[in-house]
């Protein structure tokens, strides 16, 4: 079949590759937001539980981990590509997929960074109004 590319990409792998950044962003948001809500509830019920430190720690670690992974995807996309699609990028189509993935990862890194930084500045568990 010379009409078509010689390789076959694994679909799930390709999907995770394309959505590398957004998936990290979603995971980060879930852990940061959900974790905060749960920890604040726990803090409200027991006096000797230091919610602020726990939350800062949790958000700090997840931000660092997901942020780095996301930046990594934007800078060296070839590695995730080989990991997830189990081959090297060869043609223009691969280039397009990589381009899309890099930009998405870059955007996601910004999102992760911003959500992480806000925790450093704002009081935790305080009500908005």
């Amino acid at each position: 079949m010379s009409l078509f590319a010689r390789h076959d990409s694994p679909v799930i792998g390709a999907l995770f590759f394309l959505l590398w950044g957004p998936i990290l962003w979603a995971g980060h948001l879930t852990i940061a937001y959900g974790g905060q809500a749960l920890l604040c509830t726990l803090a409200a019920s027991s006096a000797d539980f230091d919610a602020a430190t726990a939350i800062r720690l949790l958000i700090g670690v997840t931000t660092l981990a997901s942020g780095l992974a996301s930046v990594f995807g934007a800078v060296v996309p070839r590695l995730p590509f080989r990991l997830l699609l189990r081959r090297r990028p060869v043609d223009a189509d691969d280039g397009t997929l990589i381009g899309i993935m890099r930009l998405l990862s870059a955007l996601a890194s910004l999102g992760i960074l911003f959500a992480g930084v806000t925790t450093a500045v704002l009081p935790v568990c305080a009500q908005g109004r």
């Binding site: 590319a5 998405l104 955007l107 009500q127």
Partner: protein, 822 residues
């Protein structure tokens, strides 16, 4: 080709081809637009000057609720899905979407359910809670009567039809692309529909769960939302806006995708920044989910989370900005001057209005500002700029642009210009003043206002504007009536576009399915139209002798197999009628007839499914020296894919449930076991239940090995299927029984309701699994299922494994979490 002939006369409703039912779909959506628009006119007449008494407060509440609900659920989402059904197969040069009867079913269900829902406004039965139906306003205490139930069941039902459409679209865009159209060459509209469908899959289950919970509370008193028993009305808001915010983008993304298809044609140059646009679409799709809490800025969420979401609100405007710049760059890069046609006018109008709406959106996203304008007419103005600008204008551009594809005549450029200018002027005259009255303090959802507030003049202007819009829509309808003729004998490619839907077309799409080598094949591949017409590409004949199309691989688009597609039928139509009847009769509490209809609906589905899964016809030649099979099972097959997508939907529903469980715990830990309720039963119960679930999967694995050779029967496999069904039923039964004997009752507290809800969700899946297993057993007994022809078995197995997994997870949560708290 005779096989694709549309049934005529009284058999017309049995048609399933996308070109026919797509028209029905879009026509119905447009009808709902007009109907909801008429309600808007009534509201505007009432508000034209202060102190009017034309409609009562009650009717006014029903009017805006029905208007909002109809526009969002019966017009915007279905219109977009309709365009997907109509345009996608043509753009992908596929003969049809992979499950023609499923889309036909979804469409009929929507048409019938929608019409009944809308008609409640005439009987004073429409709900009054506003389109987002916040409890406690919508609980039985404040809304007795059936009004809210109509909303809940009607909308729940229409969402199911939207999900059916989404499954179709995902499998269609990924698997029925023409050979050579790799993922990186897919038209932008297909990308946007893919993301649209993905968003529906994750967003709609949240609101389906919300409607289920509220209906359970209204009908049986399970206290999910009432505070006295540990419920929380905010839970509804969370679930609703988890869907509601993406909803705006669910509507907007495909519209943007359509614009990205039209702009290059009028500029006669490929889209500038194809990658950027794909990035923007995906990013919007994701980020919009992060936004849900911004709708509750004023309800007292911790400041920290507020900061997250304020940022996310702004971030989501970046991708929209990218798209706008991309379009402008394309227009500027044009080989010739941008052609000023009616579609291009509507596109420019869209850009203007949408950008304004985006600006006010950024204003609303700034937290303190939001406190001021929350629930004022400023918000009404903002979301109409976004929705009408972002969706209605592109839709009209679409009507004018793609009419020649379905009609034998183009729509009139002269009348079209009238339509555009009336709608554009009218729109701004109506909604611009609303910003000002909003800032002056006029609240939304008021049925009248005192004359001395100085709001009269601006309101009068708004009302006049609304009638100008109506005049524009009227001109469009006249244009349609005068110029629209069915049948494809019009010019093949009147705008000189580059994508496949402009190839010479018939009801079955193109004569042969082209080999694609670029994003604009019609521009880059000379003579493609001729070649395709003369059958020089793939599948010029009908090697299986029935309706069929080529299925290709998801990323590289290599031909993989031929899918045999079903033709016209009454079964899906009956299924739709009876499902609609089931839901609506349930609303008026006619339980016996409702259940009869439910059973009939299931029966119709079974007969429908019985006719599917026809045996393969061996390998066939599709042209270009390529031979492919005509039957395939396992992870490559389209039915497997549809099943996986369905499992994603069920998974999202379940995650929304887990979220609700934990959320209610954070709100009222005091009703949770061990403090306020009996502890869950002895661990033997969940263990036995879990054992049965795992055992059931094992039984099916054995059944798989026992599948007979083609043409044979296997009573062993049959028996295993029946046993597995029993295991599933017993697992759910034991779980419910265990809680019951501890004295826990679902209406006792929000905790209890949540406990039984887990079993209910698993039970729902279990019911489907049992029906499917028994169905597979029947196929086995009639020699229609074997080692080779085993799609039915695969489906039953997949669903079984999923349901068992979900059940295990539910057991872990319900029995484990309270023990953690001890």
């Amino acid at each position: 080709m005779r096989i694709w002939k549309t049934p005529t006369g009284w058999r017309l409703p049995t048609a399933v081809n996308n070109t026919v039912i797509g028209l029905l779909y879009i026509g119905a959506a447009f009808l709902f637009f007009v109907l909801a628009g008429i309600l808007a006119l009534v509201m505007r007449i009432q508000l034209a000057v202060g102190d009017q008494r034309i409609v009562t407060q009650e009717l006014y509440n029903q009017l805006f609720t029905t208007h909002g609900t109809t526009m969002m659920f019966l017009f915007a989402v279905p219109a977009v899905e309709a365009l997907g059904v109509m345009l996608l197969p043509q753009m992908l040069a596929a003969r049809d979407l992979p499950f023609p009867r499923l889309s036909a079913y979804a469409i009929w269900a929507y048409v019938i359910g929608g019409l009944v829902f809308f008609s409640t406004i005439f009987y004073d039965l429409a709900p009054q809670g506003g389109w987002f139906m916040y409890p406690p306003l919508t609980t039985t205490q404040y809304s007795p009567g059936n009004n809210a139930d109509f909303w809940l069941l009607g909308i729940g039902f229409i969402e199911i039809s939207a999900i059916a459409g989404a499954i179709e679209i995902v499998v269609g865009t990924l698997r029925t692309r023409p050979p050579g159209m790799t993922l990186a060459k897919m038209p932008i509209f297909a990308w946007s529909m893919l993301i649209f469908a993905g968003m529906i899959i994750f967003a709609f289950p949240a609101v389906i769960l919300a409607t289920m919970l509220l209906e359970l509370e209204r009908a049986f008193g399970w206290p999910f939302f009432s505070a006295e028993l540990g419920g929380d009305a905010l839970l509804w808001q969370h679930l609703f806006w988890f869907f509601g915010h993406p909803e705006v983008y669910i509507i907007f993304l495909p519209a943007a995708g359509l614009v990205s298809m039209m702009v290059p044609t009028f500029a006669q140059t490929p889209l500038v920044g194809y990658r950027l646009i794909v990035v923007a679409l995906i990013a919007t799709g994701f980020f919009s989910f992060g936004l849900w809490v911004h709708h509750m800025f004023t309800t007292g969420i911790p400041t920290l989370s507020l900061a997250f979401f304020s940022a996310a609100s702004m971030a989501v405007s970046i991708p929209s900005g990218i798209q706008v710049f991309s379009w402008i760059a394309t227009i500027a890069a044009g080989r010739e001057r941008f052609r000023m046609t009616v579609p291009s006018l509507f596109i420019l109008g869209f850009l203007f209005i949408f950008v304004l709406g985006g600006l006010t959106g950024v204003m609303v996203a700034m937290v303190p500002f939001d406190w001021q304008v929350h629930d004022s007419y400023f918000i009404v103005a903002h979301f109409h700029y976004v929705l009408v600008g972002g969706m209605v204008f592109p839709l009209f551009a679409t009507f004018y642009y793609w009419a020649p594809m379905v009609s034998s005549r183009m729509l009139s450029e002269r009348l079209g210009r009238w339509t555009f200018w009336l709608m554009f002027m009218g729109f701004n005259v109506t909604f611009f003043p609303m910003h000002i009255v909003g800032l002056q303090g006029m609240p939304r959802r008021v049925w009248t206002y005192p004359s001395m507030m100085g709001w009269d003049l601006l309101n009068t202007i708004s009302t006049i504007g609304a009638f100008i819009i109506a005049a524009g829509v009227l001109v469009f309808i006249i244009d349609l009536a005068r110029n629209f003729r069915f049948g494809q004998v019009g010019p093949d490619n009147p705008w000189g576009a580059g994508t496949l839907e402009w190839l010479p077309n018939d009801v079955y799409s193109t004569r042969s399915i082209p080999l694609v080598r670029s994003r604009e094949p019609l521009w880059d591949q000379q003579n493609l139209a001729e070649e395709v017409k003369n059958g020089h590409h793939f599948l010029p004949g009908a090697p299986t002798g029935g309706r069929e199309t080529v299925v290709t691989t998801a990323i590289e688009a290599k031909p993989q197999y031929i899918i045999q597609m079903p033709g016209p039928s009454w079964t899906h139509l009956f299924a739709a009628v009876f499902t609609a009847a089931f839901f609506l009769l349930l609303t008026i509490k006619a339980v016996t007839i409702a259940i009869t209809c439910g059973v009939l609906a299931v029966a119709s589905c079974l007969i429908w499914a019985w006719q599917l899964d026809r045996p393969g016809k061996g390998e066939v030649d599709i042209g270009g020296d390529i031979r492919v099979p005509t039957y395939i099972t396992g992870p490559q097959s389209h039915s497997w894919w549809a099943m996986v997508v369905l499992m994603l939907v069920m998974g999202s529903l379940f995650i929304a449930y887990v979220f609700s469980y934990l959320y209610l715990w954070t709100v009222s830990p005091d009703v949770w076991a061990p403090d306020g309720s009996p502890m869950p039963p002895h661990v033997a119960y969940p263990l036995l239940s879990a054992g049965l679930l795992v055992g059931g999967v094992a039984l099916l694995a054995l059944a798989y090995r026992a599948l007979p050779d083609p043409g044979k029967r296997s009573w062993e496999a049959f028996l295993l299927l029946v046993l597995a069904s029993c295991a599933m039923a017993a697992a759910v039964g034991i779980e419910v029984w265990g809680h019951w004997i501890t004295g826990l009752r679902p209406d006792a507290s929000s905790y209890a309701a949540m406990v039984y809800m887990a079993a209910l969700l698993t039970g729902q899946g279990a019911l489907a699994v049992i029906v499917l297993c028994l169905f597979a057993g029947a196929r086995l007994a009639t020699r229609q299922m074997d080692r080779v022809r085993r799609v039915t078995f695969d489906n039953a197995f997949l669903l079984y494994a999923y349901t068992a997994g979900q059940g295990l997870f539910g057991l872990l949560l319900v029995h484990g979490f309270p023990r953690l708290l001890v």
